[in-house]
Amino acid sequence: MTDQQQLDLRKDEVQAGTTTGLASPSVDVTKERQNSLWSDAWGELRRNPLFWIGAVLGVFFVLMALVPQVFARGADPRACDLANSQDLPSAQHWFGFDQQGCDYLANVVYGARNSLIIGVTAVLVILLLGVVVGAIAGYYGGIADGILARIADIFYALPLILGALVLLRVGPSTGIPIINSRGPGAVAIALALFGWMTAMRLVRSQVIAVKSSDYVAAARAMGASGRRILVRHILPNAVAPVLVYATITIGVIIAAEATLTYLGVGLQRPAISWGLQIAAGQASIRTAPHLVLFPSLILTLTVMAFVMMGDALRDALDPRQRA
Amino acid sequence: MTHLDLSKPTAEATPAGTPLLDVDDLHVEFRTRSGTVHAVNGVSYSLAAGETLAILGESGSGKSVSAQAIMGILESPPAVVTGGGIWFEGRNMLEMSAEDQRQIRGPGISMIFQDALSSLNPVYSVGFQIGEMFRAHQGMSKKDARKRAIEMMDRVRIPAAARRVDDYPHQFSGGMRQRVMIAMAIALDPRILIADEPTTALDVTVQAQVMDLLKDLQSETGMGLILITHDLGVVNEVADNVAVMYAGEIVERGTVDDVFTRPSHPYTDGLMRSVPQVEAKGGRLQPIVGQPPNLAHIPSGCPFHPRCSRRRLGAEAPPGRECSTDVPPLRLVVPGREAACHYSEEVLGVPAQ
């Protein structure tokens, strides 16, 4: 790799939150080494309490998204009685009531589904874009790489929230399906569209590094086709950094969704979303602070679950961290 | 144990002078999460002024670790010196304060490392890094230190020293970088220089130049030289005495001429047979079978017994000399020669005492 590529890589690591080692190409990736990387990583993960906290929280919120009824203590988020408006938490209603007199626990619990759907969908789209574009740019190099890298630079230069904000504001008046829907799909696509570049660059760097390794030269000498080399030899090498990045990014996207929704361009009523709850609760923050507190708390814990898992995964997969 | 007594014949073999350094029954462990690694298990040797002692062994034999223990630069944790003594000019370094130890590093004992590229700080010029020795130990000014650095670079025969003093390590060739390391290490005329695989990373021709330089510097200054290596050729050329290490222990010790011509330990014997000899052209090389031991699980008895062709197990063995249960002590086999094997006399071809 050239110095400039090395530098870009370093910056991508910083951007991706995967500093040290991970993105530095582990060129000697025989199958055995990969296997031992993963089994060593699992051994390391198992001993990391932060991983377990993250994993338990993660499973908890995924279940909450799948079967919210179980967590809502029998309350229906849309069965409201104005008589209860803004009632404080009680033994019967742990999170109290919102402005409309709806059970707040049920509302906060039902908010998990949209957050997770958007987080996971956006990251899947990011991975798809990142792997495909990154692999093409890294493997073919030359003009293709030059153009794709410049396009990534263009998107890089726009802050994630800002880009998504503009697109979502414009979205409903365009004829583009999904984007004009004001639904979770629109939010996920908007965030993915302005967030795919780091994944692309991680994959690209790995591909460039591994492509020039002796080990790929050997595979090529034995007559393996370009596509086979890419799929069987090069891409598996990029899995570790991309996986770490993806895990953390789910958390980042969930936070971004809440922010966009809070700013009024994300999900719209009557959708149930933490961002909407925080925005609505803001007005009565002095009289009924629980309306901001509970969605904020649950939102933070959800983000934390993914950040912690990603962190632990990075530490486990980074051989340089080990003694 | 009587290590000190046993070491005397070796020291006497070189009439160069009194011991500068006495290492006595040194033990070093690495305590990691996955278990304790016994890296050095009771190593003793001494070094006199002007003497060159080679410590020969495979990677993982504990040769570098023992040297770093002498320097007091082992990373702790995980490394722990669990026993023994390191006497430098009659003072036990293990019982000194950290500050006293530090003051010995540089003017007393100095060390050069295998990979000069990674061992030199990439962000400082070589002149700065050599000059640091004078600044840290003699309180010299930055300007004077730079001047002395140029002198040192001249002394290790770096061409155009005055012009290159402000260059960075990556701008030098491998051989020149190693010279920079040497210039730094001998800057304060140390009594002892420890060279840890100083030529392993270099081309053969450059290797010879660096070794010649070290020998010349030694004869100028009379410093003791501990040469850590796995290269039998280098040992043969420059060392007076040799200590062969295996699994964290010294298994054989004597003068280079003696040990190389007539090994008395099966491991040394195996090493000698595994190198090509000009005079034995056409013959087959005999590699030592098996793998070096895992220092977390050193074999019982003689650590070499699983790979040894002369081992005697069970009923074959005379009492007290069963290779898998009885640990062979390092003992005098013939005058001037020690080995840690129950059957050294057999290897050597002399009658048992």
Binding site: V170 | I104, D115
Partner: protein, 307 residues
């Protein structure tokens, strides 16, 4: 070096143009008719509407509009909003607020992040190190939105230490929002410093420094910190560019009239010229500070040479 900078500057042109065109094309697809909205209750006459549409090139195809915009840009004219105020004036009015906020944030980020990271890195696995690890995980996980509310609630309303909105208290008004804005980067700087330091402490040249008999302080400061701070300093440098463009939420919640809040309000009120102008500026900052950082890299690390 000079040639490298020149080449990098050239390369930034397509990025700058691409990013501004991207925003431009999105913004000009904004819904509704801003001219009609301008009239409010009293409908404008069709003639006036036609004249205004013509003046703002609203009837031309997108690329013509963009070309007109670029022509203006190169003459230092960022256009006017629909009320006729020059966008440049808006930027001049709002940018100083954002710059102050970013400076305060960078200060927090550098000082707190570095100190925490260094202490944690030197004493790895100590109590303090674990505290840094856990608290940075927490901070990174709290969305800036949530953090802003709770900072307002706790330090502003409950404790009354800081003003919670506006810029009436001079630089002091920026302390709380600056801390909130810096939080993520601060945690990241602490982590980066810690990892970098711990990694360098194991480096061969640090072993050499010890073998040279250098005092412990010299070993740590000169031979470990100096090397470890290279990625940290460059991260902080690049982050200036990010912070100058990333303060939408903080400025909105704390009601600071900077470019972040301005661009958000303009997106809502469909002030296309303002949005494009400010975003182009943000992109410029981002690219500029990244270039600065690349040059800085070569200054800090003699191994990197751009020839």
């Amino acid at each position: 070096m000079g040639r490298y900078v020149a080449r990098r500057l050239l390369l930034t042109i397509p990025v700058l143009l691409g990013a501004s065109f991207l925003i431009f094309s999105m913004v000009y697809a904004l819904p509704g008719d801003p001219i009609r909205a301008l009239g409010g209750d009293r409908p404008l006459s069709p003639a006036v509407i036609a004249e205004l549409r013509d003046r703002f090139h609203l009837n031309d195809p997108l690329y013509v509009q963009y070309w007109e915009y670029l022509k203006g840009l190169f003459q230092g004219d960022l256009g006017t909003d629909f009320r006729g105020r020059p966008v440049l004036d808006t930027i001049e009015r709002t940018l100083p607020v954002t710059v102050q906020l970013a400076l305060v944030a960078i200060l927090f980020e550098a000082v707190i992040g570095l100190v925490a990271g260094v202490l944690a890195g030197i004493r790895r696995n100590s109590y303090f190190d674990n505290l840094v690890l856990v608290s940075t995980t927490l901070i990174v996980s709290i969305p800036i939105l949530v953090l802003a509310f709770f900072a307002q609630l706790l330090f502003g309303l409950r404790l009354g230490w800081f003003p919670i909105a506006g810029t009436n208290d001079g630089l002091y008004s920026f302390v709380l929002p600056g801390l909130v804005l810096a939080s993520g980067s601060l945690a990241y700087v602490a982590r980066l410093t810690r990892t970098s330091l711990a990694e360098n402490l194991r480096a061969d040249y640090v072993r050499t420094a010890r073998a040279k008999g250098l005092p412990n302080r010299t070993v740590i400061v000169r031979h470990t910190l100096r090397n470890s701070l290279i990625p940290v300093v460059t991260f902080i440098g690049a982050d200036i560019g990010t912070l100058l463009g990333g303060a939408i939420v903080t400025e909105t919640v704390f009601n600071l009239p900077g470019i972040g809040r301005e661009v958000f309000n303009s997106i809502r009120s469909q002030e296309g010229a303002v949005v494009v102008g400010i975003v182009t500026l943000m992109v410029f900052f981002f690219i500029f500070f990244n270039l600065v950082v690349d040059v800085l890299y070569a200054v800090l690390d003699p191994r990197i040479r751009y020839d």
